[in-house]
């Protein structure tokens, strides 16, 4: 009898196996229904990367694929960080001389301890900090799905005016429920469509398109208080105003590369103001989780 029971147990194990027959692509995902609420939950994917990192473009493509699937709810931010993969070659070299790194990217990288664990890595709304916040690209999709199911707590609106160099940026935050805690607003500038060298698998691609590259933070890396009170009521609205000068920000990065960054060479300029966007997010200061993120073009907003 014992043997029979044992054999049955073994049989049940062996039957647990699924061979999938093509076609393998069974759906397009269909995105998430936008409900009647004015705001939906947006998700920030912080893609820590470097132009010398040959596996990083695969992660960038995963980000694009997730964006294509879920649309504007997915917002990407590429942070070129660290001295291994993001350091520029000396200006005497013909390639990889651009310094994509920034003061804030390095600060976030050090705090969240990302590049030390190897690139590419990403954070999805910075969930699972500390410990499991550094995610391989294979984990991004599941984490995004988990985040999409969460309730939307804040709404963000970005308004800006731009005169070719100076910009006034207004961020308004709407509380969508009663909530208490310490919430911070971070505002940054990103640039799309930067054509420059990138290692991509076995290829060194001179014409790689770098998208949503972090250029500058307008707040500090840890942001400004959303509200002066820790108790926030449903329906309350807060406004933050910032004024920026693009040339100053660009020069700051050049100086920072020249004077502070490891093997920096000052090759951090050449910003194209038409491709600059504003990215704003709110995070919970108790666990760093990002609760809402919004994105708008600077020049054409």
């Amino acid at each position: 009898m014992k043997k029979i029971i044992y054999s049955l147990f073994l049989l049940s194990i062996i039957s647990s196996c699924e061979v999938i027959e093509g076609p393998y692509m069974t759906g397009n995902g269909g995105g998430v229904d936008t409900n009647s609420n004015q705001y939906v939950k947006n998700i920030l994917i912080e893609d820590f990367t470097g132009h010398l990192c040959q596996n990083c473009p695969d992660a960038a493509r995963e980000l694009e694929a997730i964006h294509d699937l879920y649309g504007s709810q997915i917002i990407g931010l590429a942070l070129h960080v660290g001295s291994t993969f993001a350091r520029p070659y000396p200006l005497s070299q013909p390639k990889f001389t651009y310094d994509f790194r920034t003061k804030w990217g390095e600060e976030l990288d050090n705090f969240f301890n990302i590049s030390d664990a190897g690139l590419p890595k990403g954070m999805i709304n910075r969930i699972d900090y500390p410990g499991d916040h550094r995610k391989n690209k294979g984990q991004w999709l599941a984490s995004v799905q988990q985040e999409l199911d969460k309730e939307v707590v804040f709404g963000l609106n970005i308004n800006s005016s731009f005169d070719g160099n100076n910009s006034i940026i207004d961020i308004s935050t709407d509380a969508l429920k009663d909530i208490s805690g310490d919430y911070k607003l971070v505002v940054c500038l990103t640039e799309n469509e930067i054509t420059n060298w990138q290692k991509d698998g076995v290829i060194e691609d001179e014409n790689y398109i770098h998208n949503h590259v972090l250029r500058s933070l307008i707040t500090s890396a840890w942001g400004d208080d959303v509200s002066l009170s820790t108790n926030i009521s449903n329906g309350e609205s807060y406004t933050h105003n910032y004024s920026v000068n693009l040339a100053d920000l660009e020069n700051f990065n050049i100086d920072y590369s020249n004077n502070t960054l490891f093997q920096g060479n000052g090759e951090s300029g050449g910003w194209n103001q038409n491709n600059i966007s504003i990215l704003a997010y709110i995070y919970d200061n108790s666990n760093y989780e990002i609760l809402q993120v919004e994105y708008a073009s600077l020049a054409t907003n």
């Binding site: 044992y6 995902g29 995963e62 694929a65 391989n136 599941a142």
Partner: protein, 549 residues
């Protein structure tokens, strides 16, 4: 996990009290402390903590057919060559096991390997910072004479937590001669195994298998001095969780290993071939990294212990490689011209590993590619030919001499861009001489040299030639003192012609061993059995204590 561990401790204490008189408790302890100071010349960084420490204590209680044990581990914080996810203290390993009437039951943690590991290996290797112990239930049963079965269900450890996948496994082995009571001189042992990993499906675009199965069959035939071992393994489709069509691969995986050995007194020869294609099993399909690898393709190259022979080691490629190895051992008889008074041992070893034609198998809606099974003229990953001569000259002097020529595809094996370093060929000589000065006093010296060249023009220069010398003075049974220097004299970059000096001083008494060392470590690759890790350069003091009871 902490609550479970606490429960186990209480359980332990209670059995300890009741069983003091007729049970046995054994254990071992290991402490590895290292300080890290900045050394810009070798790119070594200082640790914020100044010193870091890895320690563990094993305790095992045994009484008759029952045993239980646990391991306390402490990483405050983990040494720099460990993944930084090893952090903090805990009892990640605890188990209880008993056996009765042919059935062995284990609850808690256990290590397990099926066959040579092609479809499953759960093991720990402290040197690599790997511990993928299972946590669950395992049963072993002797079904009939010569027939044994193992089954288990569990999750695998990663650092201080468990990976997402749930593993179910079964392995059976039959010793035909024993079962059928054959009197034949030839012994036949057959084995078969099956593994299934469950992980929830959540991909909105691609249909992913939730249950991924692997199976393997093996055969061992032994006749006198002859021994054949062969194993074939297969894995069903196991695509990653991506929504990029290019990244999702539905191809199955497979691997085989086959070896034939002949040995008699003073002579042995082994020929071996193996191949792996798309045969990486992870405990979580969404993750990467050695902490998640759950199977093992045994390495084909000779494991070298001498530093310069292991400078460019071979990492096994479960995703695709084909390799062969030939190993010949011969002992020249004592009393002969070359054998001398004590005889001379010779070991000739050759191994060569290359990629698969066209790469790993790929199957998706657009591509269906399977590489040729045997194609030996593909991109070379690694080759090694070496001769070792081991001789005792007289009562005072013995030596070991090794000469080797290795070819190492640095770009591929270290994940560099093709053309960055290319392929490195190195010729290595080692002389290890041991001289017994008087009773209990032994001086051992090693001289090693490595001459390297890049086989193709590459954009970067490799490190060039090395020389190494070591002197070790042992006063047995209590003391040893070692000094060694590795010198990169042939580096093209004059500023990198550096000395890596290490001194080490140790004291042993009974079951306790203490050693203190100071020195510089070169950044490099360290492998055990073809599984490798990157060791960062470091400069500092280290303290090692081991003890057992």
């Amino acid at each position: 996990m902490k609550n479970i561990s606490l429960g186990f401790i209480l359980f332990f204490l209670s059995i300890n009290i009741f069983a003091q008189n007729n049970g046995e408790i054994h254990g071992d302890f290991d402490l590895n402390m290292q300080s890290y100071i900045e050394d810009a010349t070798i790119n070594a960084v200082a640790a914020d903590e100044v010193i870091r420490n890895n320690s563990f204590l094993n305790i095992i209680f045994t009484k008759n057919n029952f045993s239980a044990g646990l391991r306390y581990e402490s990483y405050l914080n983990a040494l720099l060559d460990y993944d930084d996810d090893f952090k903090g203290n805990g009892i990640p390993y605890r188990f209880a096991t008993y056996s009765i009437e042919g059935l062995e039951v284990t609850a808690g943690n256990f290590y397990e390997q099926f066959g040579s590991g092609l479809i499953f290996r759960s093991y720990e290797e402290k040197g690599l910072g790997i511990d993928n112990a299972m946590d669950g239930i395992r049963l072993k049963y002797k079904l009939l004479k010569g027939i044994s079965l193992k089954t288990f269900i569990g999750k695998s450890r990663t650092y201080f937590t468990y990976a997402d996948g749930i593993f179910r496994g079964i392995d059976g082995e039959i010793d035909l001669n024993e079962t059928l009571e054959l009197q034949s001189k030839t012994r036949y042992i057959f084995g078969g195994s099956f593994i299934s990993r469950y992980q929830q499906r959540n991909n909105p675009v691609f249909e992913l298998p939730q249950n991924v199965g692997l199976y393997a069959g093996r055969l061992n035939i032994i006749n006198g001095g002859w021994n054949y071992y062969g194993e074939y393994a297969y894995k069903i489709n196991d695509p990653v969780n991506s929504i990029q069509e290019d990244a999702v691969n539905y191809a199955s995986g497979n691997a085989f290993t086959s070896s034939l050995t002949f040995s008699k007194k003073g002579f042995g020869i082994t020929g071996e071939i193996h191949r792996a294609d798309n045969m990486l099993l992870l405990s979580d399909r969404d993750r990467i990294g050695k902490a998640y690898i759950m199977n093992y393709i045994p390495t084909l190259s000779k494991p070298h212990a001498y530093t310069l022979l292991a400078l460019y080691p071979c990492a096994t490629q479960a995703m695709g490689e084909l390799g062969v190895q030939l190993d010949i051992f011969y002992k020249i008889k004592k009393g002969s011209l070359l054998g001398g008074k004590y005889g001379t041992k010779l070991n000739l070893n050759f191994s060569r590993i290359n990629g698969l034609k066209g790469g790993t198998s790929i199957l998706n809606d657009n591509v269906n590619f399977t590489p040729e099974i045997l194609s030996f003229n593909e991109e070379l990953y690694y080759s090694d030919i070496n001769l070792e001569v081991n001789k005792k000259v007289n009562k005072r002097i013995r030596y070991n001499f090794v000469i080797a020529n290795q070819t190492y595809n640095k770009d591929f094996l270290e994940g560099k861009t093709p053309g960055e370093y290319g392929v490195i060929n190195s010729t290595i000589g080692v002389l290890d001489l041991s001289y017994k000065i008087k009773k209990g006093h032994t001086l051992r010296m090693e001289v090693q040299t490595l001459i390297a060249k890049q086989l193709e023009t590459a954009s970067k220069k490799e490190e060039g030639d090395w020389v190494m010398a070591l002197a070790e003075y042992t006063i047995s049974p209590n003391w040893f003192f070692t000094i060694q220097d590795m010198y990169n004299y042939g580096n093209d970059d004059e500023s990198k012609r550096l000395h890596y000096i290490n001194i080490n001083f140790g004291f042993l008494k009974g079951a306790n061993r203490f050693s203190i060392g100071y020195g510089k470590k070169r950044e490099g690759i360290f492998c055990v059995g073809g599984v490798c890790k990157l060791v960062p350069s470091s400069n500092g003091l280290n303290l090692n204590i081991t003890s057992s009871f």
